[in-house]
């Protein structure tokens, strides 16, 4: 088939050609970037935290009228209140284990600092940023962490101190990511590190496979997997408890927890938000990511639909307009398949040009997004796949009108001249 007469014919329909090409180009630009955003968000949401998230919940509560001072007497009083809560929760029949903890991955409330190999080193000069999880010996069982080297905490390791006390612990457990960062050549076990520019060393006694930081904002991207577990109960007017329920008993535990805690001490704030399954923490942390993925998905689908409908509409119009010319071609010996191919070829030409323009637009849009929204560079694969999709879409959309065109009988040529 020769392209020359086709291009000559298209030049008589400049407006329609430009409109279809433009629509294809814009659709390609938006769909490529939207699918890329979806892919990124989905992979962000799917990364494991390192916890065994099933049957895990978090209790956040604060005492009314608890001492607020930093005197040893006040701290001991707070600690005994916390211990009483822990004992009551651990005694619940459906509870597997309980650990006090200042935060959990994805909770977006964190205590961060730095770990260095030398004493007195400030943050930026420090070797690594890290988040701290202050907890006790039941943390491993409760959170479902996987120890890859060394040993877990024992009750003898566990200390307690006031919330505003920044003294550093003698032993810590770090994530493998943090250990590799601090000690790139060789094991971190038994080595000492200095936390927050302090002068007293902390010995690494174990490594966990994986544990995410509580923050999910982009400011945590530089240390997402750098966590330090500290065997210390923090004593303040409030406390958080991670609770692992026996398999399938999560709901029962969640309902029973408020009564158990009020039973220990009625003077505390414990509201609807205080007892949360981990699934809810995850959902709240990634709400905007999941929402964005859904929004982009819906937009893509509607966009492809609108574009396909537009192609069908304009091509149908052209078929109607060229009714007689088609009849003439048929009368002069063109087969049905030739007519069909003509319209398919024409569409391929237009959408090819549109896709080329769209390629530029897609990259331009991506650069705009990179500049303003911390996006990554769009891989070429996405654009190539996008081109294939819009070309296929064009072919699919043009098929019905082209079929109708091929069914125009040759006798039309002889009518009403």
């Amino acid at each position: 088939m020769k392209l020359h007469p086709m291009i000559a014919a298209l030049r008589r329909h400049k407006a329609g050609v430009v409109l279809i090409a433009l629509q294809i180009a814009l659709t390609l630009a938006i769909v490529c970037n939207a699918v890329f955003i979806i892919g990124q968000r989905v992979s962000r949401v799917n990364r494991p935290t390192g916890l065994d998230e099933n049957n895990l919940m978090l209790v956040t509560q604060s005492w009314v009228g608890a001492p607020s001072g930093d005197q040893p007497g006040d701290v001991d009083k707070l600690d005994s209140m916390q211990q009483a809560d822990l004992a009551a929760l651990r005694a619940m029949p459906d509870v597997e284990s309980v650990a006090p903890i200042n935060s959990l991955p994805l909770l977006n409330s964190s205590w961060n600092g730095s770990a260095a190999l030398k004493p007195g080193v400030e943050l930026r000069e420090g070797n690594a940023r890290t988040t701290y999880y202050f907890t006790d010996e039941q943390a491993f069982r409760t959170l479902g962490l996987k120890l890859v080297a060394g040993r877990a905490f024992t009750p003898a390791d566990v200390q307690h101190r006031g919330f505003r006390d920044t003294s550093t612990p003698p032993v810590v457990i770090v994530t493998k990511a943090l250990a590799d960062k601090l000690f790139p050549d060789g094991t971190a076990l038994g080595k000492t590190i200095f936390l927050d520019g302090g002068s007293s060393p902390s010995t690494i006694i174990g490594e966990v496979d994986r544990l995410q930081v509580p923050g999910t904002g982009s400011w945590t991207n530089s240390f997402t997997w750098n966590a330090t577990l500290v065997p210390t109960r923090l004593d303040a007017g409030f406390a958080r408890y991670a609770v692992r329920a026996k398999p399938g008993r999560l709901d029962a535990v969640m309902h029973a927890v408020p009564q158990v805690l009020y039973g220990v001490n009625r003077m505390r704030v414990l509201d609807d938000d205080s007892v949360k399954p981990f699934a809810q923490i995850r959902q709240e942390a990634y709400r905007s990511d999941v929402g964005m993925a859904i929004l982009m998905g819906v937009v893509c689908l509607i966009l492809l639909g609108v574009t396909a409908a537009g192609i069908v509409g304009l091509t149908s119009f052209w078929v109607g307009q060229r009714h007689r010319q088609i009849g003439v071609r048929r009368a002069l010996g063109a087969r049905k398949i030739d007519i069909l191919h003509y319209f398919q070829m024409e569409n391929l030409l237009i959408s090819g040009v549109g896709a080329l323009i769209g390629l530029g637009l897609a990259i331009g849009l991506n650069m705009l997004l990179m500049k303003h929204f911390e996006m990554d560079r769009l891989p070429v694969l996405y654009v190539l796949a996008g081109i294939v999709v819009v070309m296929a879409l064009g072919q699919g959309a043009v098929f019905a009108p082209a079929r109708r065109a091929s069914n125009v009988p040759p006798v039309v040529a002889t009518r009403s001249v």
Partner: protein
């Protein structure tokens, strides 16, 4: 004549129902997507205090130094030492410090279980500076600040819960075991975004329950319920050690009424930081900022990126829908070339043809607008999948949005019809008559 054209337009919509439905749906979906995202964007990017925003400034002082600050920017809050020093100098007409506190309240007295009450520790100037509307009573005085008085201003919401909405001025409330005398009750007041506390919130939060004097909160050693951010070597072990540390947790606001005051205050900040450097507390050059409300909202990125991206995507989407509409209108109008030829031959001017088809496009736009309105109201309910509840509830359908939706649909469709209508008006009557 216009009414007649409009009728003709409506009639022609019925002529190719399939094509018409396609156009109307495309416009409707495009308008709805734009309107939903626009309403969220408008809500989060609005000016929360329009008549004062250029007179309220938040000072920042770099107490972390180039080693620890955010790429040269001072921290977002002040530490205790700097905050108290700035207040002590009193270089602005009005000034306040603030931080978030959380206390417990028992609405039914000792019998009921305690509930959390979220408030702010502020200075008395907070109320006139931020134009907080008071239902009963008044703000506390500077003397109360000095006297570290146990007074409180309740929000309308907490007053409703505790006193059933009655005038509670002079009565006593117990918050976390301490008694406070109520001096004032606000009307409902929850500026969005919450410009004055972007250090601890993202700008969107539930209404505050109470306000108490900053000096009183310090006396009670109330820890901040908001953010506390420290850098470098930490060595404190007590409340007093914490106050003297480099931890930032306080936001300061000053009211400066004219540019001269602003530059005077800026110079004061510079000289304060220079004095700290001189005294050896900072070993870096003065690094201070003085941002007004609009600059502060912008610097803190209050508008969530989701809002900007979704607005951009929706607008791009709308443009594609319009391009689509141009194509379909072209097809629709030129299909009736014969009819146009007859009308032209019978004496209609090009202008009249042009007008008729523009109005017909307007009818399509109106139908699209109605569909868009329905989709918008449905979509408003699902804004919650993308935004957190505090932001999602800001998006709601009001009269101005309804009007805007319809107007946008009609105007956009008529703009899209310029070219197709022009083509229709250029149909040569002779040609059409000959070929039939």
């Amino acid at each position: 004549m216009l009414a007649y054209y409009f009728q003709l337009g409506l009639r022609s919509l019925r002529r190719n129902p399939w094509l018409t439905a396609l156009m109307v749906m495309a416009i409707g979906v495009g308008v709805a997507a734009s309107m939903i995202t626009w309403s969220v964007f408008r809500a989060v990017s609005g000016n929360p205090i329009p008549d004062r925003s250029a007179q309220l400034f938040t000072p920042q002082v770099d107490n972390w130094g180039p080693q620890n600050n955010h790429d040269g920017e001072p921290p977002d809050g002040l530490d205790y030492v700097d905050a108290m020093a700035l207040m002590h100098e009193h270089q602005a007409r009005r000034q306040t410090l603030l931080y978030a506190v959380q206390l417990a309240v028992s609405p039914g007295g000792d019998r009921s279980l305690p509930l959390a009450a979220n408030g702010y520790a502020v200075d008395g100037d907070f109320f006139p500076m931020f134009e907080v509307p008071l239902r009963y009573g008044s703000a506390w005085s500077a003397a109360d600040d000095q006297a570290r008085a146990a007074v409180v201003v309740l929000s309308a919401e907490l007053n409703q819960r505790l006193f059933g909405g009655a005038d509670s001025v002079g009565r006593t409330v117990t918050l976390s075991g301490h008694d406070y005398r109520v001096v004032g009750v606000t009307r409902h007041w929850n500026p969005q975004p919450r410009f004055f506390d972007l250090f601890s919130t993202n700008g969107f939060d539930d209404a505050t329950d109470f306000y108490m004097p900053f000096s009183r909160a310090l006396d009670l050693q109330l820890r901040t319920a908001g953010r506390n951010s420290c850098r470098g070597k930490l060595s404190f072990t007590t409340w007093d050690g914490w106050l003297q540390s480099n931890c930032v947790w306080i936001t300061a606001w000053v009211q400066l009424d004219n540019p001269a005051d602003v530059s005077t205050y800026h110079r004061f900040l510079e000289s304060y930081a220079a004095a700290q450097q001189h005294a050896g507390r900072f070993d870096w050059a003065p690094n201070v900022r003085l941002r007004d409300v609009a600059q502060w909202l912008d610097y803190q990125h209050v508008v969530p990126p989701e809002s900007r991206i979704s607005l951009m995507v929706a607008l791009g989407f709308f443009v594609i829908c319009l391009v689509n509409t141009v194509g379909l209108l072209l097809a629709k109008f030129l299909r009736r070339a014969g009819e146009i030829g007859v009308r032209r031959a019978l004496g209609a001017t090009r202008r009249e043809i042009y007008l008729q088809y523009l109005i017909e496009a307007g009818a399509v736009g109106l139908a699209g607008g109605v569909i868009g309105l329905i989709l918008t109201s449905v979509g408003m309910a699902s804004v919650g999948i993308l935004f957190e509840p505090q932001i999602a509830r800001l998006a709601h359908l009001n009269l101005s949005l309804v009007a805007l939706t319809l107007l946008l649909a009609v105007v956009a469709t008529m703009v899209a019809a310029f070219y197709p209508a022009w083509r229709a008006a250029r149909v040569q009557p002779a040609w059409q008559l000959k070929s039939n």
